[in-house]
Amino acid sequence: MPLDIYLNVAVSGLLTGLVYGLMALGLSVIFGVVRVVNFAHGEMMTIAMYIAIVLFSAFKLDPLVMMVPIAGVLFALGYVMQAGLINPFISRPEHSQFMLLVAVAIIMVNVLLLIFGPDARSVQTSYAFDSFAFGPIIVDATKVYAACAAIVVSAALFTFFKFSSVGKAIRACADNYTGALVVGLDVKRLYALTFGLGAACVGAAGSMLAIIIDVTPPLGPQYTLLAFVIVITGGLGSMPGALLGGVLIGMTEALAGLLFAPSAKSMFAFAILVLVLLFRPQGIVGKRA
C-alpha cells in the first residue's frame, strides 16, 4: 500500500479523535471534580445526536450551528442529574454510584429506542461529500469542520476553568473539598455546574459526531466505554490528557482498521488501555495521586 493511504487514514483518525477527545473531556471534567464516573456518558451523547438529527430533518438546521443550543440542553440535563440524583450519592461507595448511573443509562438508551426505533439514522448535510486536498492528503470536509469545532469548544472550556472566578471555584472544590466548604463555596451547586459543563461538552461532541457517523440507540454504551479508554489513556481528571488520549485512540482505531480487520479495531484501543493502566495508571499526562 502506498504511504498516501496511511497518511490519509491517520489524518482522518486524528480529526475524529479530536471529537472523541471533546467527548472524553466531559467525562474527565466530571470525574476530576465530582469524583463520580459517569457511566451514562455515551448515552448522553446519543441523546445529543438524536436532538441534532431531529432538528436537521425537521427544520434543516445544521448540527454544527445547533451545537450551541444542544450543548445548552445537555447542560441543563447534566445540571438536573447532578442536583437531583447524584449529589446524594457523593459519599456513597463506588458500586452504589455505578448502579445509579447504570440505571440512568438503561433508561436513556431505551427511551431513545422507544422514540426512534432501532434503525440507524444520519444527517445528510449539503457538504457531506465535500473534501479538502492538502497535497496528497484528502480529508472529508465534515471531519475538518467537526475537529475545528471540537478545538474551539475545548479552548473555551480551558479558558473558563483557567480564568473565570466560577472556574477557579470549581477547581478549588476539586483540589480540596473540605477547604472549599470552609471558605464558603456552595459545593453542591458547583458540582451540578460541573456535571452540566461535562454534559455540555458531550452534547457539543454529539452534534459534531452526528454529521460523521450513523446513530443507533445502542451506540451509547459503546461510546461510554470509548470515553473511559480515552480518559484513562490520557489521564483521568486531566483536560489536555483527554484531548491527547482522544487523538491517540482515534488514530489507533483508524490505522488498526486499515492494517487489520475493521471489526478488530477496538481491540487495540483496549490493549492500549490495559498497558496504560499497568505501566502508567495516572495516564500519559496525568500526575500521580
Binding site: R92, H95, N110, V111, L114, M267, L277
Partner: protein, 332 residues
C-alpha cells in the same frame, strides 16, 4: 452443620428450610415456562454469589465477570463439541482456565497498584478484549456463534447435561445451594475475616500483617472459578454462544445487579436480588404482553426506573432492610 448456622435465629432457620423445600418441590406444580424463569433466577443467584466474593467480601469491584462466564462456557462447549468431553469433565478444564484468567488480571492489577475505579475499568477492558478476540476465533465459530447439538430429548442425560428443563433446574438449584453454603463458610473463615478487613481498610489490614496481595488474589481466583461453572451451565442450557452476547459489558452488569440490589456482601442479597429482578422483568414482559403494548425498549425503561428507585431508596440493598423487618439480624 451446627457450626454453619450458629448465631442464626431459629425462625430464620425455619424460613430457610421452608424456602429450600419450596424450591425443591417447585417442579411438581410449575410448568416448563415457570421452570425456565426459576432456572434464570437461580442462575443469577449463583453467579451473583460468586461475584459477591470479590466485591462484597474482599471489596474489589469487578465489572467484567462476563469474561469468566464466557471462558467457562466456551471451554466446556469446545471440549464437548470437538472431543465429546462431558461437561462435568469439561469443568475440570473450564474452571482452571477462568481461574488462570482471574489470576492474571488480579496479579497485574494488584502488583501494579491498580485499584478502585481503575480496577473496575481494567476488568471491563479484559472482558471487551476477549469479546472482540473471540469474534475472530473460527475454532469456536467466531462472530457467527458456536452451537451445541440439540435434539428432542425424551430422557434426561445428566452426565452430558442434555435434557428437559427440570433436570437443569435441579442442577442449578444444587449449584446455588452449594454456593450459598460455600460463601457462608468462607465468610466466617479466617480468610473471610481477612477479606473483610481488606474491604474496610486495606492499609490498616496490611499494617496488621495481612498479606493483602495474596488474599485479594484468592478472592479473584475463587470468584472466577465459581463464575466459570455458571458459564458451563449457561452454555449447556442455551446451547448457543455468541461472543457479542456472552462477553458483552451488559452481561457483566446483568450479573452484578442481583447482589447489588439484594445487598452487597450479604449471603442472601444475591438470592433476594435475583428473585426480585428476574421476577420483575418477567412480570413486566407479561403485563405489557397482556396489554398488547409490545414496543422494543418499553420493558427496559420500566426496569431501569425500578432499579433507580431501589438504588435511591435502599442504598445498602434490599436484604439488610428485609432482614431487619423479619427480625433476622445476626446476634453476634
Amino acid at each position: 452443620m451446627t457450626r454453619l448456622f450458629a448465631g442464626t435465629p431459629t425462625h430464620g432457620l425455619v424460613l430457610l428450610v421452608l424456602l429450600l423445600a419450596a424450591l425443591v418441590a417447585a417442579p411438581l406444580i410449575a410448568n416448563d415456562y415457570l421452570l425456565t424463569i426459576l432456572i434464570l433466577i437461580l442462575y443469577f443467584a449463583y453467579a451473583g454469589q460468586a461475584w459477591n466474593i470479590m466485591m462484597g467480601f474482599a471489596g474489589q469491584l469487578s465489572l467484567g465477570h462476563a469474561l469468566y462466564v464466557g471462558l467457562g462456557a466456551y471451554t466446556a462447549s469446545a471440549l464437548y463439541v470437538h472431543f465429546g468431553v462431558a461437561p462435568w469433565l469439561g469443568l475440570l478444564v473450564a474452571v482452571p482456565v477462568a481461574m488462570l484468567a482471574g489470576a492474571v488480571i488480579g496479579f497485574l492489577a494488584f502488583r501494579f497498584g491498580v485499584a478502585g475505579v481503575y480496577f473496575a475499568i481494567l476488568t471491563i477492558a479484559f472482558a471487551e478484549f476477549a469479546r472482540i478476540g473471540f469474534d475472530h476465533i473460527s475454532y469456536v465459530g467466531g462472530s457467527a456463534g458456536f452451537f451445541l447439538p440439540v435434539a428432542q430429548y425424551t430422557q434426561n442425560d445428566l452426565w452430558n447435561l442434555r435434557g428437559r428443563p427440570v433436570m437443569f433446574y435441579y442442577v442449578i438449584l444444587a449449584l446455588a445451594a452449594l454456593a450459598f453454603m460455600l460463601c457462608h463458610l468462607l465468610l466466617r473463615s479466617r480468610m473471610g475475616y481477612f477479606w473483610q478487613a481488606i474491604r474496610e481498610d486495606e492499609e490498616a489490614a496490611r499494617a496488621l500483617g495481612i498479606d493483602t496481595f495474596r488474599y485479594k488474589m484468592y478472592a479473584v481466583v475463587i470468584s472466577a472459578g465459581m463464575t466459570a461453572v455458571a458459564g458451563v451451565f449457561f452454555a449447556f442450557f442455551y446451547n448457543n454462544l455468541f461472543p457479542e452476547q456472552v462477553f458483552h459489558i451488559s452481561r457483566s452488569i446483568e450479573l452484578i445487579l442481583a447482589p447489588i440490589i439484594g445487598g452487597v456482601g450479604t449471603l442472601f442479597g444475591p438470592i433476594v436480588g435475583a428473585f426480585l429482578l428476574t421476577g420483575l422483568s418477567e412480570a413486566v414482559t407479561e403485563t405489557l404482553h397482556a396489554l398488547g403494548f409490545e414496543i422494543p425498549g418499553a420493558k427496559q425503561v420500566f426496569y431501569g426506573i425500578c432499579l433507580l428507585v431501589v438504588v435511591m431508596a435502599l442504598p445498602d440493598g434490599i436484604w439488610p432492610w428485609l432482614a431487619r423487618r423479619l427480625g433476622l439480624e445476626r446476634r453476634s
